[in-house]
Amino acid sequence: MTSPIAGGVDCDLHPAVPHLTSLLPYLNDYWRDQVTTRGMTDLVSQSYPANSPIASRPDWRPAKGKPGSRLEDLQAQAVDRFGVRYGICNPLYGVQMVFSEDMADAFCRALNDWLVKEWLDRDVRLRGSIVIPVQSVEKSVAEIERCARDTRFVQVLMLVMGDMPLGKRAYWPIYAAAERLGLPIGIHAGSNYHNPPTSVGWGSYHIEDYVAQAQAFQTQLTSLIVEGVFARHPNLKMVMLESGFTWLPSYLWRLHKFWRGIRMETPWVDRAPLEIVRSNIRFSLQPIDAPPDPATLNRLFEHMQSDELLLFSTDYPHWQFDGDAVLPEGMSADLVRKIMVDNPHATYSRLSQPAETMP
């Protein structure tokens, strides 16, 4: 087993909102009453049914309540356990599913405030991602600007399956704001279910939805690249979270081949897709969709042609590995250090800044 080294960065932790009532203290009077009067109970996405095996490793599942909802558990089972210096919190509460932009905005603001008060304030190692109401680009930009004043927010969080492909120009003010404030965009597995959760319609099963996340990341990467997001924002980084990555090399071969022949359709794509990925795209480590033999995984790493792409993650409390086997077998010490320390710090420039709230 490859041992993790101390002082790394866990780039994908999921503190859980116990219940919608947990957000009530962070809502204004109107929204608080809306929630209670209209009998809204919880915002649980189909992407992660609470008792699904994927949603929590058995030894991380508490006797009561949602996995990942207690700070002590997250500390003991993830942050302390793997000896990381920083842990980036990506809340997966289903706020993106609502259709009203006003409601979404209220919930996102509450969720971000909840994260600060109940997590970031209680453990100096924790950092956060700003959850935004993508239902409104304008409100999203405002929320980014509001939360970014607290330098413990190191990323903007979006879902991989939303209303529109992420490269669409309508979203670009979000990317402009993030680039300006030095924040990467984290694109996380999950759907808001405003479209069928696969590109060929609605499947029957949770396992189908989950497998399909990888394909969604592929089409989103195409969109981001060919729409020219990184031509307009060359310094913006995007992190694919809980996406899998073993699909990347053959995916890029295909994209490159077509881009050469249909260049005239998107002439602003001024660098080869592989180059764009190497400079602007990163992937969190878990899940690793590969056979257990190190030889195959090492060949795949070679196909990727860069050791800067992967960022260490546990994906706590999701069940992606057993025991302490968070790193694949047969990794060199150099690569371990790159994945756990160097690559995350190169991606999240705010990590090295002191934690403070700017006026």
């Binding site: 479209n195 069928p196 319609g201 089409t219 989103q220 060919v226 899998g244």
Partner: protein
């Protein structure tokens, strides 16, 4: 470990293809709008002339995403006698079948009755296309074999068409498309699998089609290149559905061919399916074995468009993970992203693997060995 991105690709050694090949994806076209009329009941002639076809997308002329070349085809493939690319047998023979030494050509007609919302019309056109394949193509050139085109959204009617053609040596497979109203594993399509297995015919799942769903899980993309790259993702999801709905568990003799979406995605998808199945198999007890086992036993891939990495040895890795016995060479003639048979494999491949890739796998799968 950063490898310089080299700006000069190593050329594949142009081995002149003297040995016979199988081309598992040829697209025959109709020369005129009325070419199908002899095979269609008269009421449909009038219907088509008045109402045309209502599909699961809005455009009545041309595709929603404009192609890269007219008819998505090579510009040098227009037959001298007129008509669109792929509509002339004699020109197909002269330009492709003869010089490329095609011993087996599998026809996959597109722009047929599939994906038409009027299911009676869909069934009628599909049946007509099958008659047309025999009359114009397979009875005139024995190298060519047809695919049974079926109304893909009406499983029961489709099954009837398959049973009608079962045993007819003009056909070697049943043709479906990858983008449908629902993922291909859903039970509305099960009668098709039952009938195909009964008839001993593999199912070819060809890229394209419209089922009314946005072509990504996050809505409609802007550009044609996104659609083209996206066929890979659509086929991955369609195949995942087929496996996870237990189609191969129930139909142990059924074979499938993934056509025109590449094959490089297959290993990673199989690994992901296995990993998820290990965790979540209690949700799908009808999937009794790891998904990769079903895929390994039932699924084949046509090679076009062939993945083209900078490092040719990377391609060989992927072929080894997929299996040399699982690939079926295809040119996609007359489409523009055509793969030339002499250029596609790197040097250094063993003769046995080369012959399997170019011919023997197809002969074996289609029962023509």
């Amino acid at each position: 470990m950063n490898v310089q991105f080299r700006d000069r690709a190593e050329p594949a050694s142009p081995v002149a293809v003297k040995t016979a090949i199988a081309d598992c994806d040829i697209h025959p076209a109709r020369a005129t709008k009325t070419e199908l009329y002899p095979y269609l009941a008269k009421r449909w002639h009038e219907h088509l002339e008045t109402y045309d076809k209502h599909q699961y997308q809005g455009m009545m002329e041309g595709p929603p995403y404009p192609k890269a070349q007219p008819n998505a085809s090579r510009r040098d493939a227009y037959p001298p006698e007129g008509g669109p690319q792929g509509s002339s047998l004699s020109f197909m023979q002269a330009q492709h079948l003869d010089p490329n030494n095609v011993r087996l050509g599998v026809l996959n007609p597109l722009a047929t009755g599939q994906g038409i919302r009027n299911h009676d019309l869909s069934a009628a056109i599909c049946s007509a296309i099958n008659d047309w394949q025999i009359e114009k193509w397979t009875s005139k050139d024995r190298r060519l074999k047809g695919s049974v085109v079926v109304g893909n959204e009406d499983g029961l009617t489709a099954a009837r068409e398959i049973r009608k053609r079962a045993g007819d040596r003009n056909f070697v497979q049943v043709l479906l498309l990858s983008r449908n109203v629902e993922p291909l594993g859903q039970r509305r399509y099960w009668p098709i699998y039952e009938a195909a297995e009964e008839a001993g015919l593999p199912i070819g799942v060809h890229a394209f089609g419209f089922g009314g769903n946005p072509i990504t899980a996050s809505g409609w993309p802007s550009f044609y290149i996104e659609e083209m790259v996206g066929h890979s993702q659509c086929q991955q999801t369609a195949l995942a559905s087929i496996v996870l709905e237990g189609v191969f568990e129930r139909h142990k003799k059924l074979k499938m061919v993934m056509i025109e979406a590449g094959f490089g995605w297959a290993p990673s998808l199989a690994w992901r399916l296995d990993k998820c199945w290990q965790r979540l198999k209690s949700e799908v007890p009808h999937v009794k074995r790891p998904p990769s086992e079903y895929i390994g036993e039932h699924v084949y891939w046509t090679t076009q468009p062939m993945e083209d990495p900078e490092r040719r040895d990377h391609l060989i890795d992927v072929i080894e993970w997929v299996g040399w016995d699982k690939l079926l060479f295809a040119t996609d003639y007359p489409h523009w992203d055509y793969d030339d048979p002499s250029r596609v494999l790197p040097a250094g491949v063993s003769d046995a693997n080369r012959e399997a890739f170019y011919l023997n796998n197809a002969l074996k799968l289609y029962g023509l060995a």
